[in-house]
């Protein structure tokens, strides 16, 4: 990844509840993710992983509780740039890869959007296909455009929602390399995963959600693998 200028940022979830009608998607979730941590969120379908990520991205409001971002000294304040890669690609099929990046770069007020788009297309290996419509891309290529879009504003925090789903083994390897680069550049990463994989093994901490609550939270160690493996069950 290109050397970047961003302030290390953590995330604090305080007693987060999220209800859809009478149904709790999240229940009293309290977590603190320190700057530079790479966290894997595991859990069965419907356990609340996506909801937690969307709340962190400020795409959904919690029904109760608060989410705040922490600076390097652990103080909360401001809303830093956060990149979000969902299972859906969040890019337009009817635009080319470059047009998509230019669109979002201009919306975000990025200086020299063309140069930034070109640099990211090079990083994700799509420079030669820059003028191709995204609808002509494979799932893996679309995911590359999605990652490039999320990195446009050089985010300190990156949220991935099942980023490797639908990728072939080659695509998963590419994504794991990209993730490793992002992790090593001290970005804070929160990603939902399904079971143990090349991607989830890059995490430095694993959290398991069940029915909207945190039921396990561990750093690397023996328990780490069991948390990820359990999610696959």
């Amino acid at each position: 990844m290109t050397p970047t200028s961003f302030s290390p940022t953590g995330i604090r979830f305080e007693k987060i509840d999220k209800r859809y009608g009478g149904l709790y998607a999240l229940r009293r979730v309290s977590l603190e993710i320190v700057p530079g941590e790479c966290v894997a969120l595991a859990g069965r379908n419907g356990s609340g992983k996506t909801t937690l990520l969307r709340i962190a991205a400020r795409l959904a409001r919690p029904s109760a509780g608060a989410v705040s971002f922490l600076n390097g000294r652990g103080e909360s304040g401001g809303t830093p740039a956060a990149g979000f890669v969902a299972h859906a690609t969040m890019v337009y099929d009817e635009l080319t890869a470059e047009e998509n990046l230019l669109l979002f770069a201009r919306l975000q007020g990025i200086a020299e959007p063309t140069a930034r788009a070109e640099a990211l297309l090079t990083e994700v290996g799509l420079l030669e296909r820059r003028n191709s419509l995204v609808r002509t891309f494979s799932r893996g290529m679309r995911q590359r455009v999605a990652i490039a879009r999320a990195l446009l504003n050089e985010p300190a925090v990156i949220l991935f929602d099942e980023p490797a789903t639908g990728l072939d083994p080659q695509g998963v390897s590419w994504f794991a390399q990209t993730l490793k680069g992002l992790r090593d550049s001290c970005r804070t990463i929160l990603m939902s995963v399904h079971g143990e994989s090349e991607v989830s093994s890059l995490a430095t901490r694993a959290i398991r959600l069940d029915a909207g609550s945190v039921v396990a939270d561990t750093q690397t160690g023996a328990n780490f693998r069991s948390i990820l493996a359990f999610a696959n069950a």
């Binding site: 969307r54 991205a57 400020r58 795409l59 959904a60 409001r61 956060a82 979000f84 969902a86 859906a88 690609t89 969040m90 890019v91 337009y92 099929d93 009817e94 635009l95 047009e99 669109l103 979002f104 201009r106 919306l107 975000q108 007020g109 879009r149």
Partner: protein, 224 residues
């Protein structure tokens, strides 16, 4: 300034994707043409009859065309969850609405300007004498349809029975716009065309009220 620059960027995207896919324009133009041609052959109206019910027929056709056009307006942002990407990127969420309603108004106005000569020929109603005034009425009416329709499209896109919900909400709300537009159009199709400023003022007031409401509450319509 950020609102205007974001709106301009998003309007450019709306126009680019539409002219690339021609999804909305083709549907609406074909739909409106079919209605106008069909009624012309079915009723074979005299000039006075055309002047009497022609404006109503025109605006009814525009209404149905608008509901066809407005339905996918936010729905297609859900295909790849691009609405979330837009929400994460723009400073003011009103820019998303502003761009969409500007695009919808332009598309609707384009189909109307395309249709007016066809209507004039088939119904034997001269329109050249009051063409600029007609375009102004069409613009104000289209803006009314678009402002209301864009807001309701955002609401209905997140609902379950979305195909049913949009027309159900849209038709009663748009009745005042349709009455005002029809009356203003009718006054311009008579032998001595007259600009009905009272109806135009009503349309302006309607547009301003709904635009302000959208500006104030639009952010909540985009939330999950």
């Amino acid at each position: 300034m950020a609102l205007l620059s974001n709106t301009a960027v998003l309007l450019g995207k709306e126009l680019r994707t539409e002219f690339r896919s021609r999804e909305l324009l083709t549907t609406t133009v074909v739909f409106i043409l079919t209605i106008v041609v069909l009624f012309s052959f079915t009723f074979d109206p005299s000039v006075s009859e055309s002047r009497r019910f022609g404006p109503g027929l025109l605006w009814l056709a525009f209404l149905f065309a608008a509901s066809l056009m407005l339905q996918p307006c936010f729905l297609r942002e859900q295909t790849n969850d691009t609405l979330s990407a837009l929400r994460l990127s723009v400073g003011d969420p009103f820019a998303i609405f502003f761009a969409k309603l500007a695009a919808n108004t332009l598309f609707l106005l384009f189909t109307q300007v395309l249709l007016l000569p066809v209507f004039s020929v088939l119904y034997n109603v001269p329109i050249l004498a009051a063409f600029p005034q007609l375009v102004l009425v069409m613009f104000m009416g289209s803006l009314g349809l678009s402002v209301t329709g864009t807001a309701l499209s955002a609401i209905s896109a997140q609902a379950r029975m979305r195909e049913l919900l949009l027309p159900l909400l849209l038709l009663p709300l748009l009745t005042p716009v349709l009455i005002a537009s029809t009356e203003a159009t009718a006054a311009l199709l008579v032998p001595n065309p007259l600009m009905r400023w009272d109806w135009l003022g009503f349309l302006l007031a309607f547009d301003v009220v709904f635009l302000t409401a959208l500006w104030l509450f639009g952010e909540y319509l985009l939330e999950e």
